[in-house]
C-alpha cells in the first residue's frame, strides 16, 4: 500500500494533489514534490505551465479558472509546509483580486477600475505572461545555440614557418611593471599585517633618492639598473629608489634602455629631443613612459 503511493505520487501532477495523503509517507512525498516544484522558476512559469495544460492561447485563457488552479497549487504547497517564495504569494493575491472582481456585477467593477485609471490587472497579467513567454522561447533558442556551439570546432592550423626575419615579438611589459607589482604587493601585505612589521620608517624619502639618482647620473653619465640598488639597506629604501626612478622617467629627466634582450637595463639622461630614442626604437625594449606609477609629490629638479 505504501509503496504504491510512493510510485504513484510523482505522476499525480502538482495541481491534483489534494490534501489527502497518508501522513506516513509525508516526508518522502515532500521530497518528490519539492523536486517537481523546483521546475517552476517563478509564478509566471507556473502560470504558463497551467495555461499550456489547458491547451489554450494565452489571450484566450480563462483567468478565473487559472486563478483557482494557481491558488490551489499554493494551498497545497502551504499544506505540505513547503517554503513558498514571496513572488508566488504576491501572484496569488493578484489572482485572488482578479477573481473577486470577476464575481462583481459589471457596474461595480467599473467603480473599482475608476480608482486605478484603467489599470486593469488582467491586462497587466496577460501582458506580463505574453512577454515572459517570449523570453522563455528566446532562452530556448539560446540553449539551442549553446548546444550547437559546443560542436563547432575552429580551424587551428599548425604554425606557419617562414625563416624568421622579424625579431621575436617584444613583450608589452617590462621589468618596471614587475617591480611596480612587487611594490604593490608588499604595501598591501604590510597594510594587512597591520603594523606587526615595521611600516615605512621614513628613513628614506623619494625626494632624497631623486637627488641621489640625479647626482649619480650627472657624475657618471649613466648607471646600470642594478647598481642603483646595490647599497640598499632595507626594502623601504629599495622602494623609495624605485619610485624615484619612476618619477624621473615620468618627468622625462631620465631614460632607460635595454640595448638588447638579456642585457642589463641602463639609465641615463633623457635625450633633449622630443622623442626619446627608446620609444622610437622598437628593438629597445624598455621605455617606461606608460608605466603607471605612484606619484610622489616630490620633484627632484
Amino acid at each position: 500500500m505504501q509503496s504504491e503511493k510512493q510510485t504513484a505520487m510523482p505522476q499525480t501532477g502538482l495541481h491534483h494533489c489534494q490534501p489527502r495523503f497518508p501522513v506516513l509517507n509525508f516526508s518522502l512525498f515532500m521530497a518528490e514534490y519539492k523536486v517537481q516544484f523546483e521546475v517552476f522558476e517563478g509564478p509566471l512559469d507556473l502560470l504558463l505551465y497551467l495555461i499550456k495544460k489547458e491547451e489554450v492561447d494565452i489571450y484566450e485563457v480563462n483567468l478565473t479558472k487559472l486563478a483557482t488552479q494557481f491558488i490551489e497549487h499554493i494551498d497545497t504547497m502551504r499544506l505540505l509546509d513547503l517554503e513558498i517564495a514571496g513572488e508566488f504569494l504576491v501572484m496569488a493575491s493578484t489572482l485572488m483580486y482578479i477573481k473577486s472582481r470577476e464575481l462583481l456585477p459589471v457596474d461595480q467593477q467599473a467603480q473599482v477600475e475608476g480608482e486605478e485609471e484603467g489599470e486593469d490587472p488582467r491586462w497587466e497579467l496577460i501582458r506580463q505572461l505574453v512577454e515572459y513567454k517570449k523570453f522563455k522561447d528566446a532562452a530556448a533558442q539560446l540553449q539551442t545555440l549553446e548546444a550547437r556551439q559546443e560542436n563547432v570546432f575552429p580551424r587551428l592550423p599548425g604554425k606557419l614557418e617562414f625563416e624568421s626575419t622579424t625579431p621575436a615579438p617584444k613583450p608589452d611589459v617590462s621589468i618596471f611593471d614587475l617591480l611596480n607589482a612587487v611594490n604593490t604587493v608588499l604595501k598591501r601585505f604590510e597594510q594587512r599585517s597591520g603594523g606587526l612589521r615595521e611600516i615605512y620608517e621614513d628613513k628614506w624619502t623619494v625626494s632624497e633618492k631623486i637627488e641621489f639618482i640625479l647626482k649619480t647620473i650627472t657624475e657618471r653619465g649613466s648607471i646600470k639598473f642594478s647598481e642603483l640598488f646595490v647599497d640598499a639597506a632595507s626594502r623601504s629604501e629599495v622602494v623609495c629608489t624605485f619610485l624615484a626612478l619612476l618619477e624621473l622617467i615620468r618627468l622625462k629627466q631620465l631614460a632607460c634602455t635595454q640595448p638588447e634582450p638579456f642585457s642589463e637595463i641602463e639609465i641615463g639622461r633623457a635625450q633633449p629631443a622630443a622623442i626619446p630614442a627608446v620609444a622610437a626604437e622598437p628593438t629597445a625594449s624598455t621605455t617606461s613612459s606608460e608605466i603607471s606609477s605612484p606619484q610622489p609629490e616630490t620633484h627632484g629638479t
Binding site: 522558476e41 517563478g42 509564478p43 509566471l44 512559469d45 492561447d57 494565452i58 489571450y59 484566450e60 485563457v61 480563462n62 483567468l63 517564495a85 513572488e87 501572484m91 482578479i98 459589471v106 467593477q109 467599473a110 485609471e117 484603467g118 489599470e119 486593469d120 488582467r122 491586462w123 497587466e124 497579467l125 496577460i126 501582458r127 506580463q128 505574453v130 512577454e131 515572459y132 513567454k133 517570449k134 523570453f135 522563455k136 522561447d137 528566446a138 532562452a139 530556448a140 533558442q141 539560446l142 540553449q143 539551442t144 545555440l145 549553446e146 548546444a147 550547437r148 556551439q149 559546443e150 560542436n151 563547432v152 570546432f153 575552429p154 580551424r155 587551428l156 592550423p157 604554425k159 606557419l160
Partner: protein, 230 residues
C-alpha cells in the same frame, strides 16, 4: 590577386579569429614590408568597407560550397570553423572541447532578457521574470556573459546591464542583431503604454484581436508566435 582570396588565405592560416581591423593591418604591413612584394602594394590602404564586403562574399561562397567547414564571424572576428555535425570525429581528433557547464534555465532566461533589452536594470529584469534574479545575475557576470554597462537615469541611479563580447562568442553570434527574432522581442514595451487602455470587462478571456497590445510607437505589437525551434 583578388582581395577575397588574400583574406581567405590569411583566415585559413591564422591561429585565431581575425577582425577586419587586424586584417587591414596585415595587408598594410605586407605592402610596407622592406622586401614587399609588388603585388602587395595595391592593398596597402584597403577600406574597411571593402574588406567587409569581400569577407561577406567569401562566407557566402563557402556556405554555397556546402563543405564540412564554413567561414564564420563571431563577435566581429572571422574564422573558419567546422560544421557541428562533424563533432563526433573532431572530438576523436582533438578531444572534448573544454567548455564551461551549460547555463541553467533561469540563467538562460535572464541572459535572454538582458541580451534583447540592454541596457536594462536588475529591477526591470525581475519585472519580466517575476522572480528575484540576484543569484543568476551574479552567475552571469562572473562568467563574463553580462556586465554592468552604466547607470539608469532614474531614482537611485541603478546599474544597468548588457551582454559582453564573450556572450556573442559563447553562442556563436556575429552581433546582437543576429539574435533570433531580435526585432520582435525588442519591440515589446517594458512599461505599460501611456494613455488610457480601452478594455472591456471580461477582456481577459477575449479573442486575441480584441486585445491588441500597443507599444510606445502606438503600433500594435507583433502577435504571439508559437515558439519555433531552430
Amino acid at each position: 590577386m583578388e582581395l577575397k582570396f588574400i583574406l581567405e588565405s590569411l583566415l585559413f592560416s591564422a591561429q585565431k579569429p581575425l577582425s577586419v581591423k587586424e586584417l587591414r593591418e596585415i595587408l598594410t604591413n605586407a605592402a610596407e614590408a622592406e622586401d614587399a612584394d609588388p603585388g602587395a602594394k595595391p592593398f596597402a590602404k584597403v577600406k574597411e568597407s571593402d574588406l567587409t564586403a569581400a569577407l561577406e562574399q567569401l562566407a557566402q561562397e563557402h556556405e554555397s560550397a556546402a563543405r564540412s567547414y564554413r567561414l564564420a564571424c563571431v563577435a566581429g572576428a572571422w574564422q573558419f570553423v567546422t560544421q557541428p555535425e562533424f563533432a563526433p570525429w573532431l572530438k576523436a581528433l582533438v578531444g572534448q572541447k573544454i567548455r564551461p557547464a551549460r547555463l541553467s534555465a533561469p540563467a538562460l532566461e535572464t541572459l535572454a532578457i538582458i541580451a534583447y533589452r540592454q541596457p536594462i536594470t536588475r529591477a526591470e529584469v525581475e519585472q519580466i521574470r517575476g522572480v528575484n534574479v540576484d543569484g543568476v545575475m551574479q552567475t552571469l557576470t562572473e562568467r563574463g556573459l553580462a556586465e554592468s554597462v552604466g547607470r539608469a537615469e532614474v531614482v537611485g541611479r541603478p546599474q544597468t546591464y548588457g551582454t559582453t563580447a564573450l556572450f556573442l562568442e559563447y553562442f556563436g553570434l556575429r552581433r546582437l542583431g543576429d539574435l533570433p527574432a531580435a526585432d520582435e522581442l525588442r519591440r515589446i514595451p517594458l512599461e505599460k503604454p501611456p494613455g488610457p487602455v480601452t478594455v472591456e470587462p471580461g477582456l481577459a478571456t477575449a479573442a486575441p484581436e480584441q486585445l491588441t497590445l500597443e507599444n510606445k510607437d502606438g503600433q500594435p505589437a507583433a502577435p504571439v508566435e508559437p515558439p519555433k525551434a531552430e
